[in-house]
Amino acid sequence: MQPIVDWLLLGSFYAAVALGFSLVWGIMNIINLAHGVFIITGAYIAYQVATNLHLSPFLALFFSMGMLFALGWIIQYGIINRVIRGPLLVTFLLTFGLELLLTDTLQNLFTSDNRFINSTIEGAGINLGSAHISLVRFISAAIAIVLTAALAAFLSRTRLGNAILATGMDRDAARLMGIDIRQIYALTFAISAALAGAAGALLGQMQAFYPTRGELFTLRSFAIVVLGGLGTPWAVVAGGMVFAFIETFLPVVLPRVGVGYENAVAFAVFVIVLLVRPTGLFGKAFYSQ
Amino acid sequence: MSANLSPPTASETILELQHVTKRYGGLPAVDDVSFAVQRGEVLGVIGPNGAGKSTMVSLIGGSAAPTSGKVLFQGQAINTLPPHRRAHLGIGRTFQLTQPFTGLDIRENVMVGAFFGRRGLSRSQALHVADEVLARVGLAHKATLKGDQLTVADRKRLEVARALAMDPRILLLDEVMAGLTPAEVTDAIELIRSINRDGVTVLVVEHIVRAIASVSDRVLVLHHGRKIAEDTPDTVLSDPKVIEAYLGERYAKQKQAEKDPAQPASEWMEGLA
């Protein structure tokens, strides 16, 4: 029972981790290697706000989202838009540069010590039969699902969301329809960064974090999106669930490949999936309504 | 086997499709198609947009694998061979959506065909072949341009030139006349005839019925992935089934277009689309 609960909660959290990554990939065909460090930045912001303003970490989440939204907007509008028509390698390289820069900045600001956001409801939880559900994890999972639903609704129900989807499907056609591509791209990236910020605020309450922790989350995001496919926001939840399933139950099956091999596991998962089913387990090729 | 090898009389099968089907996610793009191409002939393939013509070319050329069925080349099953092996067997193809090497110049584009499509040519020999082929298709004066600096018509010529440089036994041409002016269409027809005279079997996929009718020995009609007719051009074009399924009311339009030579060929080609 406990492993199943752990799996579902972790899977939902992973949806929040990869949601923004999947959006940017699907709409702009950019692999944002800075995605992981966006998450970590979100964690630090939530940490600072929660500690200094004595707010609940779940309220601090909104600060993380807001600040990362702004950061994302600036990065896309000021930097990535200038290279977006270049070869894939250039955008890939560029986001890696951003990753290095942000990681180093975090290191200078906060040192490389482990941090953890102490929640006021730390330790609280419900017992469900033999399983214990931590309240922090439960609320985090709920927030992750709410964010997914909100993104899905925003994309399909609002004019702006539709403009994002249209741009993702055919940039030139969207431009002819009078959509300002640069603004739409900036908005897309900003939303993605804000989602990463939210994931960071949740992460900080569940695990210790430090500046270079981001790389692992980028790799995991990639594996999750590859598993779920680039179809819709809900595909990310599916991918997150599958990935969390592997992470939760692999140590049960192969006790020696437990702790310490997180990266290798993430890597192995996505290479195998890519080779067996290049469009992901559930996915369609592009974001769509 | 056959005593007489001269193209017009010998009827030896060079390429054969046996019950070939290709599905993309459930929908068949090519549906249980069988036919044979005789060595030395020009076989025309027509059909409305989405009929599966390009898919069929890819199944023969190897860029797509059939879901079921067999593709035989000179009696050998080739449907599991990768494209480069088929190229070495003598299958040359063009792409409807042209695929130039954008960063290479035109001469090098064609040279790659000779260098890798044939065995044992040196660099300079391959370049020499490229120059010959470029002159033949009328691209010699643009040899130093880059692959992405060409007009649509010239991109089509480049496709033909590259395939031709491989010295193929069979040449698969996928809508190489689309977008050409009537005068250019006439040139293209002449080129296909001269290639065929050199002993190359040609499978020519085209929208332009006039072109197909004048150049092909036989015509095959695809509709919704199915073969609905296969016969001499005259018979096929007067087959009520074909007129209904493919030409329909647009046939009238085409007749009209033929009376009006000022109207570019592409106009009524689009009408058929």
Binding site: V83, L93, G97, L100, D104, E215, Y261, F270 | Q99, E108
Partner: protein
């Protein structure tokens, strides 16, 4: 979709948009390759002369610069010529380094540091590194080179991260992968220096050969259009895997020499993605797919980062990616990606290119005009990737 250039196509030398791969093949046609080779030989000759100046700091700085020349040159085989975005070439570097370390550690019978067997252990390790890397590149390349674009990039990036993790967890060459083998003190410290110079020379010759050979044509054709390449008879899989293996081998040798040179290292230093990315960055900076690009890019970037580290008052550590230098690398990447994605070599080519005689773009012959035209072309060239 295809751009209509109709009547101007024959006399306008300037493509509307800078193609991603640009004039990568300029060295292929005509005598360009000869000049590139000569240029490369002059540069390497200059580097070989540096130790005669007698400054130890200078020599050790240029040891690392030359090492990055080798790394960039080898990345160029798969990334520049073949156009596959390998982001994990550091894997081979690390394998090379650990092979040498393990080789020294695996012979406990040799106790005295002056034992004549010692140098032998080094070459055995180097050879083992080459063989293991080549096999590894083959085995990893065969499935992953079927992947395109981002997928290949992240698969290779993941390889290096995963291998680092495994080396750490399996305690290769020491607890947590911390390797400090009993390297014998080398009386001829300069041997490392010339080891790297010789390797760079080999890579230069290999690159020049590649720029003219059938093998090289196949790789460039794959980069420009893989589907067309296959259809024209190129066995793309084997060429790609071949290029990947070719790119792994010098990288592994460099890793082996570095292992001895560093006299002690850990997984985080020889498997760091920063090295992979530096290979990509400097090749882009100079011009990927060109003969001189990786050499020039590596010199400029590594020299600049060493100067930066000095002026900001930090110790120049060999892989000083702890404080500040990651920031420098990040900033350099952003600048290069925005301003120079085609590389310096191609910008110079673009600037010096003469318009076709009688072409629309040729305005007068005066030097001033030519200069202005050149600047205009370059600006257009640089801005080509934005929206």
């Amino acid at each position: 979709m295809p751009r209509e250039t109709s009547s101007t196509a024959s006399n306008s030398p300037v493509a509307g948009s800078g193609p991603a791969s640009g004039d990568a093949t300029t060295t292929r046609a005509g005598r360009g390759w000869l000049w590139s080779l000569l240029g490369g030989l002059v540069i390497l000759g200059g580097i070989a002369a540096i130790p005669t100046l007698g400054s130890d700091t200078l020599t050790s700085n240029w040891t690392i610069i030359t090492m990055y020349i080798v790394l960039a040159q080898s990345w160029n085989f798969i990334g520049g010529f073949t156009g596959y975005s390998a982001f994990g070439n550091v894997t081979f570097f690390g394998i090379g380094a650990y092979a040498v370390a393990v080789s020294f550690l695996s012979n406990p019978k040799v106790i005295s540091p002056y034992d004549p067997q010692r140098p032998q252990q080094f070459f055995i390790g180097l050879l083992a590194g080459v063989v293991i890397s080549a096999i590894f590149a083959f085995l990893i390349g065969l499935p992953t080179l079927r992947l395109k674009g981002h997928y290949f990039a992240i698969a290779t990036l993941g390889t290096s991260v995963a291998v680092e993790e495994i080396v750490t967890q399996r305690d290769v060459a020491g607890s947590g992968g911390l390797a400090s083998p009993p390297f014998p003190p080398l009386s001829l410290h300069i041997a490392f220096y010339y080891g790297f110079v010789a390797l760079a020379l080999v890579c230069l010759l290999l690159t020049t050969w590649l720029a003219r050979s059938k093998f090289g044509y196949a790789l460039v054709a794959i980069r420009e259009n893989e589907q067309a390449a296959q259809t024209l008879g190129i066995a793309t899989t084997w060429y790609k895997v071949g290029a990947y293996v070719l790119s792994a081998i010098p990288t592994a040798i460099a890793g082996g020499i570095y292992a001895y040179y560093s006299s002690g290292f850990e997984p985080a230093t020889v498997f760091t993605s920063s090295i992979s990315v530096t290979m990509v960055l400097v090749t882009f900076l100079g011009g990927s797919g060109t003969v001189l690009g990786p050499i020039i890019g590596a010199i400029i970037f590594e020299y600049a980062s060493q100067q930066f580290a000095l002026s900001s008052g930090q110790a120049t550590s060999v892989f000083g990616y702890h404080f500040g230098s990651d920031t420098l690398l990040g900033v350099a990447i952003i600048i290069v990606a925005i301003a120079l994605p085609q590389g310096l070599v191609r910008v110079v080519q673009e600037f010096t290119r003469r318009p076709v005689a009688g072409g629309a773009g040729a305005s007068g012959n005066s030097r001033a005009n030519q200069f202005v035209e050149g600047v205009r072309r370059v600006r257009k060239f640089i801005a080509a990737n934005g929206i």
